[in-house]
């Protein structure tokens, strides 16, 4: 891990600048995906509703 860290922090090198830019793009893309999923689940016609606990009786009870 130290080798990777030194590679990223070696700002003199052009390769490291490319690597940091790629990392920032990756973080932005993952974050955007999460935001989209959250909005999909909480709004609109296809939103996910929290089930009401009292409407879900257990299918079977333990016999012992």
């Amino acid at each position: 891990m130290d080798i990777v860290w030194e590679y990223l922090t070696d700002l003199q090198s052009r390769h490291s600048a490319y690597a940091i830019a790629a990392l920032l793009v990756l973080v932005w893309w993952v974050g955007r995906s999460f935001v989209r999923l959250y909005r999909q689940a909480t709004s609109g016609a296809g939103r996910l509703e929290r089930p009401q606990e009292e409407e879900r009786p257990r299918r079977r009870l333990p016999l012992d």
Binding site: E54, P57, R60, L61, L63, D64
Partner: protein
């Protein structure tokens, strides 16, 4: 012998000498006693023709010997009792056993011994001799002291007790079942008694228990394998044992509902509710009054629960009582079934009873109003609503 000799004796003394105590006297003396009774116009047979019969836990009734024998010839339900007290006080308590009769002999108020009688005609002959004060002891056969017998099983389920009793009888083992009428068990339990610590009887009990354990495992496996037909068949068999386990009836009801058999599912859930609420209010002995309990006792249960909700009880009615999770499951299942079977009074009664025992008065009232709409003559619903209106 001169009649003056008997002047100090009451009619009852002379009749006693001529019947119950005749073995103590010689023939000439007995003949003079009979002559004295004839002189007094006292018929000894008519004199003693006044006996007491008591059915199970009912109050004793006075009747003639013929009426008592007629009562004895009627079909006696399993493990129910008929007590016959003859004129001079001794009592035979007859109990219907699975395949015979058990006769308990009391000398006055003291228990003496017990013996079995194989069939009804032999019992009639025995009772006739006992009530007419004739010799009957030679008909008793082998006698037993039940006080020295051991308890093998206690249960509140007559059906389970009958299963065990049948298994013991099939093995030809000696046993009897004591009901709460005799044992005065506060929980209304039946007690299975066997002579000594009989290992054969214990083995029979363990065999049945092992079979039940296997059935439970098979039911769980069938559910896991999604084999509903097999699961239903196993739960149906488990239900025949009459175990006081609400989970059996809940699971049976749930499997029936999943199969679309809603009416039968409702019956199973109502049974589960009945058993659950009985377990909660165990101190209320409605099962002993109802005999079989279970589903048959449902309406009795509701009535009992209502009587337990009178204003003088300690728990305040504005606080809801916590009930175990499985009762909430039963309530939800019944509420779902009510949407499909809105006229089912058993479902409504069970839901009302659960709400009432939880002290959820608005919901209980709502269910009882629904019951009244379907059956305006429903006594339980009218009683509850009237009681709530009076508070």
């Amino acid at each position: 012998m001169q009649p003056d000799h008997f002047a100090a004796y009451h009619d009852e003394d002379l009749v006693r000498a001529l019947t119950l105590e005749r073995a103590n006297y010689q023939a000439p003396y007995l003949a003079s006693v009979a002559a004295e009774l004839a002189r007094r116009n006292v018929d000894p047979q008519a004199f003693i023709d006044q006996v007491e019969v008591r059915y199970h836990a009912d109050a004793p009734a006075t009747c003639t010997i013929a009426q008592a024998l007629a009562k004895a010839s009627e079909e006696l339900p399993l493990w129910h009792l008929l007590a016959f007290t003859r004129y001079f006080g001794d009592t035979l308590v007859v109990q219907r056993e699975l395949r015979s009769y058990l006769v308990n002999v009391y000398r006055g108020e003291e228990y003496a011994f017990s013996f079995f009688v194989a069939e009804g005609q032999a019992l009639q002959d025995l009772l006739r001799r006992f009530l007419t004060l004739a010799d009957w002891d030679h008909l008793a056969g082998t006698t037993y002291q039940l006080d020295s017998w051991h308890s093998l099983l206690r249960t509140r389920s007559p059906r389970y007790m009958q299963k065990i009793a049948t298994a013991l009888a099939d093995e030809g083992l000696l046993f009897t079942v004591q009901t709460p009428v005799l044992s005065r068990d506060p929980r209304g339990q039946l007690t299975l008694l066997v002579p000594g610590r009989d290992p054969a009887a214990t083995a029979v009990l363990h065999k049945v228990e092992d079979h039940l354990s296997t059935l439970r495992d098979q039911a769980t496996a069938a559910f896991a394998a999604n084999d509903r037909d097999r699961e239903l068949a196993i739960y149906a068999e488990l239900a025949t044992y009459g175990l006081n386990n609400p989970a059996i009836y809940y699971n049976l009801g749930s499997a029936l509902a999943e199969a679309g058999r809603y009416a039968k599912a409702a019956t199973a859930f109502v049974e589960a509710a009945s058993l659950s609420l009985t377990a909660l209010d165990i101190q209320v002995p409605f099962q002993s009054r109802r005999g079989t309990g279970g589903l048959g006792g449902t309406f009795g249960m509701v009535g009992t629960l209502i009587s337990s909700l009178k204003p003088d009880e300690k728990t305040p009615t504005d606080e809801q009582r916590e009930v175990p999770d499985y009762i909430e499951d039963i309530e939800l299942q019944l509420a779902h079934l009510l949407k499909r079977l809105p006229q089912d009074l058993n479902i409504l009664h069970a839901l009302a009873a659960i709400a009432a025992i939880r002290h959820d008065v608005p919901r209980a009232r709502e269910h009882y109003r629904q019951i009244i709409e379907i059956n305006p003559a429903d006594e339980t619903a009218k009683h509850y609503l009237a009681e709530q209106a009076g508070e």
